[in-house]
Structures are given as C-alpha cells and as structure tokens.
Amino acid sequence: MTVLKANRLSKHFGGLIAVSDFNIEIDEGELVALIGPNGAGKTTIFNMITGLYKPTEGKIYFDGKDITGMRPDKIAALGIARTFQNIRLFPELSVLDNVKVGYHLHLRSSPFAAALGLPSYGREEEQITRESLQLLEAVGLAYAAYEQAGGLPYGLQRKLEIARALATKPRLLLLDEPAAGMNPGEIHELMDFILRIMEDFDLTVFLIEHQMRLVMGMCPRILVLDHGITIAEGSPEEIQNDPRVIEAYLGTEEE
C-alpha cells in the first residue's frame, strides 16, 4: 500500500524555483533514493514533506491523509521521522536524553503527574528509559549513554540522530545524506544498518545521498533531481546509463 505520495510538488522562494513538479509514490517497505547535484532541491523536498516548508504548489499524502502544509510536530506524530544533512542533535543533553526526548510525543502522562512525581508518571519514565537504552544497544551506543551528545565523534552523532528518529516510532524514515563524511568501511556498515532497522522496525526509507556506492549498492529505486526538476527515475542500471543523468553530473560530452 502507498505510504507516501506527492503530487506536482513545487517550492518557489520569491523568484527562485527550488523544486518544480515533483511527483512520487512510495509503497510500504520500499527503499527509495533521491540523488542529484548540489543545490538540486533535494533537502527542500524533505523539508516540505516534514512540514518545515510550505509547498508553493502541490499536495503530499501520508497513508492517504493530506499532510500538505501541516505543522512539523503533527507530521511527526503521524509517523514520519527524519535526520538532517548537518546533524541537528541536542548537544548539551546526554546521549540517552537525546533518545528519550524522541519518545516524548508518545507520552500519556500529563504535566501534573510529572510535576508532582506521581507513580503513574514514574512507571512511564521507567519504560522510556528501558526502551531508550534498548534503542541505543541496537545502534551500538549504549556504552556512551551518559556522555554529552555534543562530544561524540561525527559518525556516532549520525547514529544517535537515527536512534532519536527511531524513538518516535515512525513508519517512514527520511535520511538526509546519512553517509556524509564516511569512509568505505563505515558506508558498508551503514548499508547493513539501514537494512537491519528497516526489518526490525518495519520501516519505509526514503533517503538523499551523494555516495553512489551506497545508492547503487542497495536502493532498488532511484530518483534523480537537477535544478528542481526530476530528470530520471528507475533502477540503478537504468540511472547509470541515462544520458540526462550523466549530463547533469558531468556536463555535456561534446562541445
């Protein structure tokens, strides 16, 4: 069944057209990649899906529900989570707290219960702590639970951001350049990791990437964006041999 659908999505910033007529349909359990040269508008599309930008035109549907222009926190509550290109953790909070705060949207206790330290709240807090530690185990960060998030090395910060996103119990996970700054060994690990969490957590994944090794190596479906326009869509083989894609990345062959 269709999890995410976008129709004629466009974003104009004054006179600048960042994204034009973007269409996509992603089914449950799929792994789709969005690639394209820098400045093509990929992150802008993510921002529209997650509610950070309001589309100038077009509609977005999640699980059949129209989420166009909805507030980001409402969209997250519906089940879309994302990571950021330039990692936006909460640096002064501990690693564990960064994950725990991802559970906040599922909190049932009221502020009163929390403020007065009622046992009902205490039980929820214990559950959150347990599940958060489990999540940290799953990404291999349990040993650093009480360190300050801002002090983690870059690669681990990425993992933490993903763990935090997973804590919101999403159905669709948007990853914005998860492999940025990684060496081939780390990229390989990341590929395994993504496939694993897709299975363990029943996820659909839509990702933006520049690392072709990862994209061609594991994404069955790829969309290519250039200057806001979708110039190709298909399997890795089709994309690699598409002249328009080659032109967009390398420029024209003949002069």
Binding site: F13, N47, L52, Y53
Partner: protein, 297 residues
Amino acid sequence: MSLNMFLQHLANGLSLGGLYALIAIGYTMIYGVLRLINFAHGDVFMMGAYIAFYGVAIFSLPWYASFILSIVLSAILGMIVERVAYRPLRDVPRISALISTIGVSLLLENVGVVVFGGRPKAFPRPPLFNQEWNLGGVRVLSLTFFIIMASLALLIAVFYLVYRTKMGRAMRAVAWDFETAKLMGININQVISFTFAMGSALAAAGAIMWSMKYPQLLPLMGVIPGLKCFIAAVIGGIGSIPGAVLGGFLLGIGEIMVVAFLPELANFKYAFAFLALILILLLKPRGLLGKEMGEKA
C-alpha cells in the same frame, strides 16, 4: 475642533515625532549592524540631557557651546559603552548581549541617581526658544518650530551620511551581511564604533530638544522615551532608517492626536505606544517598512 486647534496639535505632533525619530534612528542603526537591542540607548539620552544641563549650570557655558559639548561627549560615551560592554560579547548568544545592555542601562541609571541626585533639575530654555510665535494664525512656541527644523536638518544629515558617504556604505554593508563585510576588508570595529557614536550623538541632540520642551530632568527620564522610541523603530521596521523615521513620526503624531481627540484616555497615553507595539508584532512583525528575513529551516 477648529482648524486652528488641529494645526496646533499637528505642530506639536510633528515636533514630538521628530524627536522620537532622531532617537529611534539610533536604535535601528545599532540593531542594523549588531542585531542587538540596545536597552541603554535611553540612558545615553538621559546623560546627554544632564551633560548639557551641567555645562550651563555649573560651568556657565553659553547654551550653544554646552549643547555641542553634550553631543560630543555623548557620542564618546556611546563608543565607550560599546567597547567595554558589547564588543567582548560579539560572538556569544544574542541573549547574553541583550542582558549586557540591560546591565549597562541599570548602571547608567544608578550612577545618574548617585551623581546627579534623585531630585528633578530644571533644564534651561534659552529665550530664543521661549517665544510665542504666530505662524499663519497658529499660535506655536518658537521651540516647536525650531525642533521641527532641527530634526529635519539632522535627518537630512543622517540620510546623506548613510547613503552618500563611504562610511555610510560600510555601515549598510555590515548591516546587510556581517561576515561578508569583514571579508571585503571593512574594518568592522571602526564601523560599529562610528554607528554608536552617531546614534548617541543623535540621542543627545534629541535629549537636549526634549529637555527644552519638558524641562524636568530625572535620572530615570530616559527609560520611557527610550522604550517608546524603540517601539517606534520596531513599528517602522527595525534595521530600516526610513522605518525609524516613519515610526517616530507616527508615534509622535499618534500620541498627540489620540489625547487631543479622546482626552479621557490621557492617562493611558503611555500604554498607547505599547499596545501599538503588540499589535504590530502580531500582525506585521517585520514592521511597516521592514525587510524579509530568512525562513524557518
């Protein structure tokens, strides 16, 4: 209300508006280059008034000499404040710098209480400004006329400085993009010092004219006009000099007119400026002439 009365109120409104505009420009210029609301600006205003007063009262200077001295010393005061209390905080979160301006404001006010004493002082009003003139049937204090003229002259000078000189261009560059201006070889510290000097000088000029209009000097006299003028700058669009001028005149004329047409609300005159602020921030936070700033993400 007769036409005569109306014109009289208008004249008063214009003169008050001119003063508000002069002080509002200082706020807006400082916000433009530093993205900082200088809560201490109103207290520089106060200092300007007192310096002018003491020049005449203690040092027996002729009024024009005392006024000029006050403007110069206030400009220097502004530069010192920037150097000591704001420059060290240039790279820290804005809120800390904001608190620093509150600290400077408190310090200036309390120093004022200690040095000048809490009892009101009477600002001199030279005879030239104390005459009653009859301009085309409208009875107006000569002071009102001079204030309007002086404000206009100063405003023209400001526009010339900002839009026609090299320093003015540098100021606008820094206000537009701090980092790039630095990379283009502009001496940021010099530009910022100059901005503070200019803003403080205008505040002192405004203070002198204000004190001739409302002769009672008190250490806390700068607080309310300072807040009102900042509100005027925000209404016009903070960071925009034309905006500050527009906001100043709107506020000045508005205040006088509201009381003129609805005298029952005279006591709430003070709240008028604040209510206008709340409205503008809710309906058009960039201000009437303000520029658009970036989007969310």
